[in-house]
């Protein structure tokens, strides 16, 4: 075990993957010898050469199109999009190409070797073009897997799984926690199962569900609620698509209450999908309406970031409201 921050954990996963298979390639804007603007790919060029870890021209649609082609050829393409906010020029390559490659060819071809890494999320004074959480756009696309880790340990094990998973994976890294989240991480190889939620804290009164950086907020709110004698079961969804309905439903059948929190705006966010499914699965067990604690339905602001941010106080209030409904 070693102490690593989330960036170091990502770097370690890339390092292990590249050592494990010489068919693993890592690329993106500034990701070559410079190591990327967040330094997630530091040292990889020195270790594996400029043909394995390299810079791309500044063109997101080109990066993912290139990655699709490389993956269809049988390689593992690990493409970085510098900020999740800049992934949209590649939208076509993701939703019409990567996600449908296997299906449209009757499995004659696939891009299972594709992994798209991208930092997402707010809390860094980034305004609306460096703060968004666009997971829901992609969760509407059958064929993609979407993974959002919450800490260094999860990030490394999940990224290794994502790279070698036989499906295209969008791996969204919480950039607010890149250096802030530090934890014990095994130095060697390990993989964590995709599609499996993680019960972070067991409880009996209310289930609080989150993913990525928002898990930390949920935990903080649960701590406040504990002072009031409310026992929260905090669950990290981990994988947005396909998501672990069973773990969440089982928890809600036990607690009778669910608070889902996400950074992204409320309307049509993934929390809405969770709420719809859980009311179907657990209708007779629910003691209060499922609460969604989300961003406002506005672009992500700069000077009002603190007010916009889905902080622990907002989640705490929703927990209390759920308990006293």
């Amino acid at each position: 075990m070693a102490k690593m921050n989330l960036l170091q954990a990502v770097n370690s996963a890339l390092d292990i993957a590249m050592a494990k298979s010489d068919k693993v390639y890592s690329f993106g804007e500034d990701t070559g010898s410079f190591g990327g603007v967040f330094r997630a790919t530091s040292g990889l060029t020195e270790k594996y050469g400029r043909h394995r870890n390299f810079n791309t021209p500044l063109v997101e649609q080109g990066i993912i199109g290139f990655a699709n082609g490389l993956a269809s050829q049988g390689s593992y393409a690990v493409a970085e999009i510098q900020f999740g906010d800049y992934i949209f020029p590649a939208f076509d390559q993701i939703v019409n190409e990567a996600a449908k490659f296997r299906y449209r060819s009757g499995n004659e071809f696939n891009v299972g070797g594709l992994t798209i890494r991208t930092p997402y999320g707010g809390g860094i004074s980034g305004g609306h073009y460096h703060s968004q959480s666009p997971e829901a756009y992609f969760a509407h696309t059958p064929g993609m897997k979407i993974v959002m880790p919450r800490n260094p340990y999860m990030a490394k094990g999940l990224l290794l799984s994502a790279i070698f998973d036989p499906n295209p994976v969008l791996f969204m890294e919480p950039k607010r926690l890149y250096r802030a989240a530090v934890g014990e991480v095994p130095e060697g190889e390990y993989m964590l199962e995709l599609g499996k939620a993680d019960i972070v804290q067991e409880g009996t009164d209310v289930t609080v569900l989150a993913w990525g950086a928002q898990v930390e907020i949920a935990e903080k709110a649960a701590e406040m609620a504990a002072q009031d004698g409310i026992s929260c079961e905090v669950i990290d969804l981990v994988t947005i698509l396909p998501w672990d309905v069973d773990t969440v439903a089982e928890s809600v059948r036990k607690t009778g209450r669910l608070v889902v929190t996400q950074e992204a705006p409320l309307t049509n966010g993934f929390a809405s999908e969770v709420a719809a499914t859980i009311q179907e699965e657990c209708f007779l067990y629910l003691e209060s309406p499922i609460a969604r604690v989300c961003g406002l339905d506005t672009p992500y602001p700069l000077s009002h970031e603190k007010e916009y941010f889905v902080d622990h106080l907002k989640v705490y209030e929703a927990i209390k409201a759920s308990m006293t409904y």
Binding site: E29, D30, G32, S33, F34, V37, N55, P57, L58, V59, E60, Q61, G62, D85, Y86, F88, P89, S125, G126, G127, H128, Y129, H130, L266, T267, L296, D297, T298, P299, P301, L302, S303, H304, K306, E307, Y308, D311, L313, K314, E317
Partner: protein, 398 residues
């Protein structure tokens, strides 16, 4: 421009591949690095008043950039993007336009905006995201915009303004407005799909647009040559799209001015889109989040200091007798004091009222946003200490 669209082409009977290096484009220069007019070149027809306005704007932008980089280091603003070394490219080109021409920038054209008359207070209000910012404190620093000055608000995503410029210019053409649009971007942004879409459409529709590529050698850490493109830069792409194209020394304010003046004639009088590639160097980091020592050498940076566009133009002005070194120095100090005073003032002005958070998402806030605002305000009232920027004025109205 292709002479025929029906494939009526000259025939050859042997296979001929045209080499990728067959078209190499020279660089237009008027002012040598020592500030003298190059042999065979001619200074543009520019009166003393305009020349001094250009120089004064260059000086101001340099001071603003230097002071705001320092302010960011002191934690007074969150972020900054400087245009150090590229002042001639944006200011020289803006000077060749009329105020009614539209400017669509990327995020390193503060010089063009200053030339148009954006005041030091207006710059500071945006940089400090305060309630006087035209953008209402919503975007990161340097994302300026001003409708009165025909300067479209900056967006962070790269190259999106390029096809927009073509569309804007189409409207100008249809309106017979006698104006054009200038669209700035970097050589990195020219890799984006939007670049190709925008140039191709401009060529098809024959619109009055000037595409001005600031080739400053780097896209964050990625060097242009060999890593951003494999060919002769950006200029040959204009030729391939069938448009008039010129490459200029982007650190030579005269070459930039003259090329843009002629491009404007082509655009406005003949509806010819034009591509200008200004060759320059990003003397600072990409932004205050970037440290160039990780990817380039001090020697390289020093070599470019010798080509400094502001120093070069000052030398010419001094040789011309239009300014003395002492006057330039005095102007510099006056501007510095002005920048510092505006900075101090802007940081005391509060952020916009919380009610602004739902404004401008649509023309008027729909019901669901009004509800979300009401809930947010109730929450802030409950925890005022957690939201110190907005809680004290929450019930005071805008």
């Amino acid at each position: 421009m292709a002479k025929d669209t029906q494939h009526q082409l000259d025939i050859v009977t042997q296979p001929q591949f045209i080499d990728g290096s067959a078209l190499t484009i020279p660089m237009f220069q008027i002012l040598s690095e020592d500030g003298t007019i190059r042999k065979g070149a001619k200074a543009p027809e520019m009166d003393k008043e305009l020349a001094l306005k250009i120089f004064s704007t260059m000086q101001f932008i340099r001071i603003l950039d230097e002071r705001m980089i320092a302010a960011q280091r002191q934690g007074r603003i969150s972020f900054y993007l400087s245009s150090l070394g590229e002042e001639a490219a944006s200011i020289g080109s803006a000077a060749a336009l009329i105020p009614e021409d539209m400017i669509m920038g990327q995020y390193r054209e503060q010089g063009a905006l200053a030339f148009r008359g954006f005041t030091v207070e207006q710059f500071m209000n945006q940089l400090f995201s305060n309630e006087r910012d035209f953008g209402k404190g919503r975007q990161m620093p340097v994302h300026y915009g001003c409708a009165d000055l025909n300067f479209m608000t900056i967006a962070s995503p790269l190259a999106t303004q390029i096809p927009q410029a073509t569309g804007y210019a189409y409207g100008q053409k249809m309106d017979k407005s006698g104006t054009c649009t200038i669209c700035y971007f970097g050589e990195g942004a020219a890799s984006e799909g939007d670049f190709h879409a925008g140039l191709n459409m401009a060529s098809v529709y024959k619109v009055p647009v000037i595409f001005f590529c600031r080739n400053n050698g780097y896209a964050i850490s990625t060097p242009s040559q060999g890593e951003q493109y494999g060919g002769d830069g950006i200029a040959p792409r204009g030729v391939a799209y069938g448009m008039k194209t010129i490459r200029v020394d982007g650190n030579d304010v005269f070459a930039v001015y003259e090329a843009t003046r002629l491009a404007r004639e082509l655009a406005v009088e003949h509806n010819e889109p034009v591509l200008i590639e200004g060759m320059s160097y990003r003397m600072a980091g990409h932004s205050t989040s970037d440290d160039p020592t990780g990817y380039r050498t001090r020697e390289e940076e020093n070599a470019w200091k010798g080509k400094d566009p502001v120093v070069r133009f000052q030398k010419w002005l001094q040789n011309q007798g239009w300014i003395t070194e002492e006057q330039a120095e005095q102007n510099y100090e006056e501007k510095k004091a002005m920048v510092l005073a505006a900075l101090k003032e802007a940081e005391t002005i509060p952020v916009p009222h919380i009610d602004e958070i739902i404004e401008d998402v649509y023309d008027t806030p729909p019901k669901h946003l009004q509800k979300q605002l009401a809930e947010l305000k109730a929450h802030i009232r409950k925890y005022p200490e957690a939201y110190p920027k907005t809680a004290p004025r929450i019930d005071g109205g805008k």
